[in-house]
């Protein structure tokens, strides 16, 4: 494996992990609001959350570029306040990966939150537990297998993300070139067939490992909860 290929693989893992983990708290909050909340604009929020799933990824990427680019409203804010730059950096790739995986994460987590018996939450309330405590001690632990499945889905989506990433942060080796964009590069190169094969094999291996790990963990957690 060449150094460029190795870098692309490691960067993909970093981008997907950071993207999925950073979006997890937001996904849990939104999923909880959609599962249990009653508020005006709930349908609008639902639609907004699902947009990246339905829109062409290149549109999401372009919107990220407008909003989080150097001169974008959010981009300037993050750079000024937190010193984080997204445009043409790996952090931008992680943001794009997080945004693209967000709808699937929310869907999985929402389903698992909805499956938690509301009567158990009522029981906790009659014992004197407040909403935050009920969420942390009853709802979230019981929904954990679904939350974990959401995290894995988000990670898997992030590993495969292409359109939004290449539009937002381009395809810079060592900085924003992920597994997917690296494979795209090699397919454009007449001499790149062997490289394409190697990267493809790695992509398949990562997918199998992630899915097997999630299955095993979900089974283990499910067993423990019973």
């Amino acid at each position: 494996m060449t150094a460029t290929e190795w870098t692309a693989v490691m960067l993909s893992l970093r981008v997907a992990s950071v993207g999925a983990l950073a979006s997890l708290p937001f996904a849990i909050a939104v999923a909880y609001a959609l599962a249990r909340g009653r508020f005006p604009g709930k349908t609008a929020l639902d639609v907004l959350v699902h947009l990246p799933l339905v829109m062409p990824p290149v549109v999401t990427g372009w919107l990220l570029l407008i909003g989080f680019g150097r001169h974008g409203v959010f981009g300037e804010f993050f750079e000024r306040v937190f010193g984080v730059t997204f445009a043409f950096r790996w952090t931008g790739a992680a943001l794009a990966a997080g945004v693209m995986g967000f709808p699937m994460m929310v869907r999985a987590i929402r389903l698992s939150l909805e499956s938690v018996d509301h009567k158990l939450e009522q029981a906790a309330a009659t014992l004197g537990a407040g909403p935050l405590r009920i969420f942390a001690t009853v709802t979230l632990p019981l929904a954990f297998p679904g939350v974990f499945a959401g995290l894995i889905l988000g990670f898997a989506k992030a590993i495969g993300e292409f359109g939004a990433t290449i539009t937002f942060v381009a395809n810079i080796p060592g900085e924003t070139q992920t597994l997917a964009t690296a494979i795209y590069n090699t397919t454009q190169d007449p001499a790149g067939a062997s490289s394409t094969w190697r990267l493809t094999a790695i992509a398949i291996a990562i997918a199998i490992i992630a899915l097997s790990a999630s299955e095993a963990l979900a089974r283990g957690l499910g067993g423990r909860a019973r």
Binding site: D117, K119, L120, Q122, A123, A124, A125, T126, L127, G128, A129, G130, T137, V138, P141, L142, A225, R226
Partner: protein, 215 residues
């Protein structure tokens, strides 16, 4: 003192009670579907009456005229539901400690060991709720509610689904708890005989009729 004067309409069905008793334990007796559980839910704050007053031991929990409607978690009503609703992600000990951890700071503590001993669940502490029998679950649910130091205890059909021997055990236990912890208690049963053994006063709940009891 238990006061439940409340009315709630569900479409054409009206559930209405006019109960005021100096007794510390009250049984609501009647057939299924008569509204007994709804009355308990109103006392616990899980359902809101259209109008009325609910007060236990001098604490006003609901008063539609004065705009009082204390949130369920602030009512300190220990509710043992018909299906015991134990948290499946905790062991028996975990469920009991969950209740104990929510006891208000000023309340006189009820000892964990004391409750475990009184309920006879000491050998079950490490088990998950899924591995308990119906009667064991009921006892753990009673313990969890007791340890949260409620101002009153609600028991919804605590004896349902138990074989005769277990029923006798649990009746003895509830009477002992009632006398030992001096807690006001409202319980629901469809058998008058059980109600009379468990509570000092009882009120009949019939579908479509106002429940009345005045002493």
């Amino acid at each position: 003192m238990i006061e439940v004067r409340a009315r709630r309409a569900f479409g054409a069905t009206v559930i209405e009670a006019d109960i005021a008793t100096a007794a510390d334990s009250l049984a609501l007796v009647g057939p299924s579907g008569a509204g007994k559980t709804t009355l308990l839910n109103m006392v616990a704050g899980l359902e809101t009456p259209d109008a009325g007053v609910i007060a236990i031991g001098g604490a006003v929990l609901f008063d539609s005229r004065r705009g009082v409607n204390v949130a369920p978690r602030m009512r300190r009503i220990g509710y043992v539901f018909q299906e015991p609703r134990l948290f499946p992600n905790y062991s028996v000990a975990g469920n009991l400690r969950y209740g104990a951890s929510l006891a208000p700071p000023g309340a006189a503590p009820i000892g964990f060991e004391e409750v475990v001993g009184a309920l006879g669940v000491d050998l079950l502490l490490d088990r998950r709720p899924g591995k308990l029998s119906g009667g064991e679950k009921q006892r753990v649910a009673i313990g969890r509610a007791l340890l949260s130091r409620p101002r009153a205890l609600l028991l919804d059909e605590p004896l349902s689904g138990l074989d005769p021997a277990r029923r006798e055990d649990l009746i003895g236990l509830i009477v002992a708890l009632r006398d030992r912890f001096k807690l006001p208690m409202i319980l629901v049963s469809h058998r008058l005989e059980d109600a009379q053994r468990l509570a000092e006063a009882s009120a009949q709940v019939e579908p479509g009729r106002k429940v009345t009891l005045a002493e």
